[in-house]
Amino acid sequence: MKVWDEVWHSPIRAVRPWLFERLLLLLLAFDAWFLEAPHGGRLGAGGFNVAHAAWLGAMLPTPTPALYVGLMLGIGALAFAGAVGGASRTHLALVTAGWTWGWSMSLLDTWQHHYLLTLLLTCLCLSARGVGRDGVVADGWAWRLAASTVAIVYLYAAIAKIDGDWLAGDDLRVAAHAALAPVVDILGPSAFQVLAIGAIVTEFSLCIAYIASLWIDRLPALRWPLAVAGTVGAGFHIAIQESGFKIGWFSAYMVLSSCVFLMPEGALQRVAGWLPAREVPGPRAWAVLGGVGLLTVGVWANLPGGGLALGLAAGLLVVFGWRRSAVGIGGVAAAASLAGLLETTDVRFDYYRLLGGDLRHLGDLRGAIDAYRLADVYAPPGEDRTVMVSRLEAEIGSAGSPATSGSVGPEETQTDQ
């Protein structure tokens, strides 16, 4: 048992889980608001759904746009407030459960990294709380469990590529021909094969690095080799992102992991130094202000489920922030950030235009017109759907009855996951 205890139960520098939790929650908040919520219109479209497990589909309510979009807005708010003010175990468990419900309610979401996030958030839920960032977590088993999980991901990602098509470079040629053209110019026609084999070697190396990271704060000799591995890992995922693969924010999460799991403590302390270190005493008014702010944004957002979900998130943050003003401040920051995001990006335009595309495709022309009219409220210059609405109205008029076909030309629908 001595070796087992040394591997799993020895101390770990608190800055690692502290920083990882804060930055992971921040990324997750923007992922939920910016990337996931706009796709919520497809949930339950046409009255059809398949959950990730049959028992989930039987136990939980059938997904609807309001349920999914509301869930993403609410979970994003809780995650953001946790990133700013720190999350209690209950707070983090709610984020984990909500996020997991979000992806598992429908097979329309098959991003593998959404499942990985559930695993990593679960490990963080199991981590010791209240240690702060400057000390030591006396028993770092939960952190090491997270590191082992990432190592297993890299191991199987590498094994999956030991395949004739990948080894010959054919898969990479098909998937990233245009993005890798400059590399082909330098390395010649064998570039795809070289890069494909390089990816396998990199993934196996990262698997070993994450396993070695179980000892990172105990063996000084590992510091620089793991720092090199962290740099390689971050560069590898940035390169994948730049190659044009449609993989959501997987790269961002893995760059974050590479840095926090593998970099020396000193570098992490410098980054963590930019964030508030510990609880600052403050009035409970922050909690109330955060709650009111989130509720207001929920009503103003004009997205299905937004008012109810952000109202619930607001209530929870008032409870969490009643004794910890930093969480209340986090709620205020979440409300301001979500309002800013909705006002400055195309989240609402994308939601309504994609919903319109799906409804038109499924033959609900009147529903599509309503969605496109709402999209036009938030449309960037020159991207309004006025012409499409006119064509749909003409089709309904010529058919003499509502909503029977979808033959009015191409429009976007949602197939990207």
Binding site: M1, W4, W8, H9, R42, A45, G46, F48, V50, H52, A54, L107, L108, T110, Q112, Y115, L119, L126, D139, W141, L145, S148, T149, I152, V153, Y156, A157, I159, A160, K161, D163, D165, W166, D170, D171, L172, R173, V174, A175, F245, I247, D358, H361, L362, G363, S405, G406, T413, Q414, T415, Q417
Partner: protein
């Protein structure tokens, strides 16, 4: 015999599941459902397929087969999952098609093209609809 702490049991169980789930995919016939196998960028995902549906019906004792217009019944995400041969979605779509009155058999037909340009034989998945 040393006492097993709850944390140690959890670590062992967690690792067993994390290693076992993907391993089960490799050992269990390599189903098209690759969700928990960490198979990023595998050849299977780069194979492009088209799916079509057909419904066999019986009207007044006469048996006939017609095309089922999948794209106007299912959101595009479901069509995409069908083209990736997701078995749960295949079964759910076939069952859903069987809900049509007079239907006796629902069929999905998948035509694919691999990254190297070759095309395997089209595949058919069918479901007998049973009594209404």
């Amino acid at each position: 015999m040393p006492r097993v702490r709850p944390a140690d049991a959890l670590i062992a169980l967690w690792l067993l599941v994390q290693v076992g789930l993907p391993a089960a995919w490799y050992l269990g016939g390599q189903s098209p459902d690759q969700r928990f196998a960490w198979r990023m960028f595998s050849s299977d995902r780069l194979t492009h397929c088209k799916v079509s549906g057909a419904l066999t019906e019986v009207h007044d004792g006469v048996r006939s087969t017609r095309d089922a217009d999948l794209s106007h019944h299912y959101q595009d995400g479901w069509i995409s999952l069908l083209t990736h041969r997701n078995p749960d979605v295949e079964q759910a779509v076939l069952a859903d098609l069987c809900e049509e009155p007079d239907s006796v058999r629902a069929t999905l037909r998948l035509s694919c093209k691999r990254p190297d340009g070759t095309a395997p034989e089209p595949e058919r998945m069918s479901m007998d609809c049973g009594p209404k």
